[in-house]
Subunit: 341 residues, 4 copies
């Protein structure tokens, strides 16, 4: 069946499978010490315009959030994020499982504002009882957000300056980073992110890989013994080659950005189809996720012909649904969708 | 360079890569709900001769131990194991990270004895202060052990009976289970394991897969919401297909056992080469890991031509080293090794 | 200096100190196994009108919340509470430290409504993705709340019925339970609480004891090995006598309720003084905590003569402050306060 | 019944109860900010001959070990200790509950040797796979040990030097520190301990207090926000006065050492009675715990007249039992014991 359900419905970019096959029987050392991991790290450093970055490869998004966040917080710290942030809603409490509170901030379309962050931080330190409270020890943002929206360079700069003023790291969850970098009208580059964030990850799972996320500490500021910390979380892959080869391919000849652009172009076409067919948007995003308001009766019929995601109830008769494009969406998929809609 | 360093130096069995490529662009649902996972589960149930088993796919060994053990222990429980057990030595404290003590038992060649287990359990419950101590809440064994040795069916039966008498689960770490099932002279089958253990995992990473371990609860006795528990640990793979397809291939036409037999035949050849060349064994195992005593001067020369693992110091002048064969060891590898030795 | 800062400014009720002295040199067994603990348990069971209750003595409020909540949740569960709940705001993340998320609900004057709870629970189980989310595993309420307000018997009954329908325990934090039971116009008795809650604690620290909280599982439904769990949290007192003797005194001749009534009478006098002096209430509670709006200039002068708690900023020029009475407030204290105000 | 069961059978030194009563109705601020805590801190600094020490008061021994150890370890660290150490045996896994492994070392009469420690540390850092293992992040010793034995100043110096060479803190569990300082023939003073250890606690519960342990960071080296960390563990007492007043009394006019000497003198008398009566010692310690071998038939009769602790089975017919004296043991108790034995 035709599917716009999410951006991880397909396997890997064919170039990745080809490279896995070519290198398959080479005996390689484990745990990320092989030459493909080394090569991928170098290419990522170049793409981030930072030669000192520490780069680690982990397997999935929730795992990455759990390992990175817990490795950078002190025991009495929590992590600030939009109350719609993935870590606050759809990770089964993985952050709390590591002993840390998620401290929700108000959001608009998935984004937190520098003003709200500043108020939280100044109120916290202004409260004479704050030693009895959870300290704000990190700011987590997702880019694109869970609603497909993007921070501007100005917003990122303000968040970054606030974090530095309060000596807490700014962490960007880049599960869909490629779709953010290729997003319509964005002024934020990978170099900007490396300059403004203290840690971020470049998502592979949703952008062409079978699995894998590349964690970047742009100033060589990885916590000591990060490998041991990953192992302790069960997050260290024995055959690190599986991750190294994938990212090596994705960061060769700009493939990561190229396939991301495919998703954005598909999303633009999707938006025009939706407008053409007269469906109202709940939220029209610059990236690969589009949120539409559907009448419930229409929804029931539609879901027999195309897969998409249920997002939230809007009112008695309407539902918010999400259509996602990806690196693997074809013009044929979009043609079929136009016919169905 | 020639490598007998471990059993995860190569990628995946070629049949797996082929199948990944064939299915690559099919849109599939995530998190283990796709038809390949379903098919793999059915084949594993058949191989285990248990139609009610719950089967879950996780990514790696430490992760599997962490998720399974913590999901089955009550907060005040610890897990008993050989003091040489992987969870006690080489998992960076992953079990303790989940809040549980590893309770070490004496071992011989990596195995615990039913007598030692019985003594521990009866002493514990006989101690009037045991409410101030960590409760023994599970027995962990590895099969093959970290020393390549195997439990006999009699030993397994005794351990199983003890665990049932004390109402604690028996858990088998099968990181190298294929090499155990194919081991020289073993009388333990997969059906026996499913009958005698309360939970075990069938290792993929070391037996032909790129990654992946299949957890089996043979009596349909998985803890409630095991998927949520895995997610909370960051252990739930979005593209579950990557694991499902691999195990589906491994459990088609008995491939898992066939490639395991290759490792055992290679190990038998390896043993005969070592004997022929006059190197003393530290421990001659029935599976794919062989432990040899090397003079330090010999070791230094050898390691320039072939990769192997340093295991432990034996005395001032000798070192225990490990040579491992695997599903991917070729007769050519062995021929070269004979020449080098 | 005169102090209405909180309800733990004084030591213990003199009768407690007297009894500690009388029994001081008796050799007693430890960890809650002494006859004074046994006697206190019996008296508490009688006061709760439940002969099967399990009763445990712990040292302080945050500790009690941490031990009780974590002992009753499964690993994938969180605890629902008012977003102003003590566990969500002023316990330094003690609940999250045990691995569990606090799931905040909207509140009015510190109370959650049965409607909001029902909506949360039905939405959760209605969401097809709920296996990726934190399960609601307990409802936490405080009575009196952090704002001094009280649930009615009807409200408690509705919450209790909802919890039972969804098979999750209802837990009452009774840090100030005495002041709730003695509250103006309440229709909720200790027997009602024992009937409607699955677990609650009777606060000692804020109601006449040096330290100590009595946890009651009214249906004999304490988690197995609760003593071991407490020990594991560092919450098991060696000299259990210190807690047993205090609760034995507090539950002899209705002392707990009698001294609580003193706080309520003092609070009523306090309210009339505040009205008489024309200070506006932020919130006029039926218990021992009163919240007043003060002009900032007035606040600065006042705090030189009497201690009270800063609660929150109201606007540029006003602050919300709290005055608390307690079992130890004297009519002389109130007389002095009238003069100062 | 006559009791030599342990050193926490009695309440508090009468001087403590007197002082609690005298100060009872003074309104004092909470959480250790009152003047009695401040005074106690000053007196402890003086006794330790270190004017910069950070001093915190916690409630009990297991709690103190849990808070101190977890506050000083990095997530991937474990704590080294004698395999008979209290944290390894009788604390219900409280250390592991905070996520850290206890790394057992061999012991003699409860003590670890500098040689064994050095071997462990050099082997660990010499192992090329140590990034997959738990790092040794602290050394825990008890003084007196669980067997009543004491480290010499030379031994402590060696352990201290090793710890400093490897940059890991040396932590002394002083649950019975008074009995160590007053022990027969010891050359270790409180000043030595403050000089050689990085953190230690002065036990109150077993040496004259109702409850309470004073944690000392002799170089002002408490972890940042230690109060918040304690709160997060449920270890911060609201009425800090209860702990401050007790330690203020114990460190006035050398009371702590004086009452400890009483226990040692009683132990010396006890030893002479045991010798006189011909009972064999399992271990004759210089402090307040004495370990005796009893025939099982004799044990059964004896325990009807005097309480003591069962320690371990020696053989089929003999049991190791412990007799403990304390600050509250009287000459009358000893006279009665002589008659019974």
């Amino acid at each position: 069946m035709l599917s716009f359900e999410n951006d991880y419905i397909a396997g890997a970019h064919p170039e990745i499978l080809k490279r896995l096959a070519e290198t398959n029987l080479e005996p390689l050392s484990g745990y990320g010490t092989d030459p493909y991991c080394a090569s991928a790290r170098e290419k990522i450093r170049a793409a981030c315009q930072t030669k000192d970055a520490d780069v680690y490869f982990l397997v999935g998004g929730t795992q990455t959030n759990s390992v990175v966040i817990s490795s950078m917080l002190r025991s009495y710290d929590g992590v600030l994020c939009a109350d719609t942030g993935h870590i606050n809603t759809h990770e089964a409490g993985a952050i709390e499982y590591t002993g840390h509170k998620v401290l929700p901030l108000p959001q608009k379309q998935g984004k937190i504002s520098p003003n709200d962050l500043e108020r939280y931080l100044s109120d916290f330190y202004g409260d004479e009882n704050h030693e009895h409270m959870v300290f704000p020890g990190m700011v987590y943002i997702s880019h694109p957000t869970e609603y497909g929206t993007l921070y501007t360079k100005d917003e990122l700069t303000s968040l970054s300056e606030l974090c530095r003023a309060y000596h807490i790291p700014l962490y960007m969850d880049g599960a869909r980073l490629g779709y953010g970098l290729a997003g319509s009208g964005t002024d934020v580059s990978l170099g900007d992110i490396a300059r403004l964030c203290d840690v971020f990850y470049i998502g592979g799972t949703k952008v062409g890989a079978l699995c894998g996320e590349a964690v970047v500490f742009p100033k060589g500021n990885a916590p000591a013994h990060f490998l041991t910390i990953a192992k302790q979380h069960g997050a260290l892959l024995a055959k690190g080659r599986l991750l190294g080869i994938q990212f090596d391919v994705l960061f060769t000849d700009d493939l990561y950005l190229q396939i991301s652009k495919n998703a954005i172009q598909a999303a633009e076409t999707l938006k025009s189809i939706i407008k053409e067919k007269g469906y109202p948007f709940y939220l029209e995003s610059p990236t690969n996720q589009q949120f539409i308001l559907l009448e419930n009766s229409r929804l029931e019929k539609l879901k027999k012909e195309v897969a998409f995601s249920f997002w939230d109830k809007a009112d008695e008769n309407h539902t918010i649904v999400r259509f996602a494009t990806s690196w693997s969406t074809t013009s044929d998929d979009l043609k079929k969708l136009r016919e169905i809609l």
